[in-house]
Subunit: 193 residues, 2 copies
């Protein structure tokens, strides 16, 4: 039985999540991470492992704690409500915190060094997972007559994800909620009935 851990692991992970959300995986240094977490480097290593492991934990937390509106959306009665719920909640999340806007799934790594490739692939897979869920939901909508026979669930899912990604980029660039909502409105106006 040894020394108790002196810092709140949960809060430290939250702090690291915010740094990665703001600066991306490669843009975030241990100087940033330790300052935000209020913990020295060896302590971060002891609690979370290396930088990549820390990022993966932060990403998992991001999906669990911040994207909880997605399973809710998938249970809504119509495909248009699903899309609307996701779009407007994403806009809210992407603009909620002044010091880290956008989406971790996009900010993490878009283009990076060779060393960042495993993390970039992890992000691609996480986004693909979400897209699969959407596609399946839209297939169900089609089967139920909520979407017309001519509708293409895969294209709709890809379209919705594209708009979400674009909104994340724009939020990170400082676009207003009003503008982002107008983008979402326009996207929904194309929704098949």
């Amino acid at each position: 039985m040894g020394r108790h851990r002196e810092f709140d692991v949960d809060k430290a992970l939250d702090a690291a999540l915010c740094v990665f959300w703001r600066k991306g995986y490669e843009g975030a240094s241990y100087a940033d991470l330790t300052e935000a977490a209020g913990v020295e480097r060896p302590a971060l290593y002891s609690a979370f492992g290396n930088k990549e492991a820390l990022f993966r934990l932060a990403l998992a937390r991001y999906y669990e704690r911040y994207l909880d509106y997605i399973p809710v959306a998938l249970e809504l009665p119509t495909s248009r409500e699903v899309a609307a719920h996701i779009l407007y909640n994403a806009i809210d999340l992407n603009t909620r915190y002044a010091d880290h806007t956008g989406c971790l799934g996009i900010n993490g790594v878009l283009a990076g060094s060779d060393e960042a490739e495993p993390v970039r692939q992890a992000l691609i897979e996480a986004r693909a997972e979400g897209e699969l869920q959407l596609r399946e939901r839209f297939e169900r909508a089609k089967a139920e007559g909520d979407l017309p026979e001519t509708a293409k669930p895969d294209a709709l899912a890809a379209f919705l994800l594209a708009v979400l990604h674009g909104i994340a980029v724009q939020a990170k660039a400082g676009f207003s909620r009003e503008t982002l909502r107008a983008v979402a409105d326009q996207a929904l106006s194309t929704w098949p009935r």
Copy 2:
């Protein structure tokens, strides 16, 4: 009268552009840049200045040489043709080269370190410039009756840019041209008339 420069400055800049396109500003190291350009570091410095200056030159070249379909699009007769031309050409460009997909305007810096902030702002401004051009074009379309009175040129421009950014993210993630075209088709499906 001294020694002649031994490398092709034009080709070296192209090579650097490709590295930045693939790895982003921070993900690209001088090891990458010198290997791709076939030139030693002091020679790159001599010809282009520091890393940030090199990136800015690469970005200017990207806009001049690769985005030349945009002024063409802006002269098309209808707003829908403008949007379609840009979307399909962007998809072509974002998927043309197997070893650097996506768009430099997005891959450059989305989220980065404090040191990358000037570059990130330059990219935001470049994208904003393009959005302004679109907005003005759509305002003209509205004045000419090509877009209905209820249409909002600013929202349409922001929407089009969002889809373009989303497509760039998806192209960089390895999505097929077919999928990306379906996204564009969906975006255009109810373009206001």
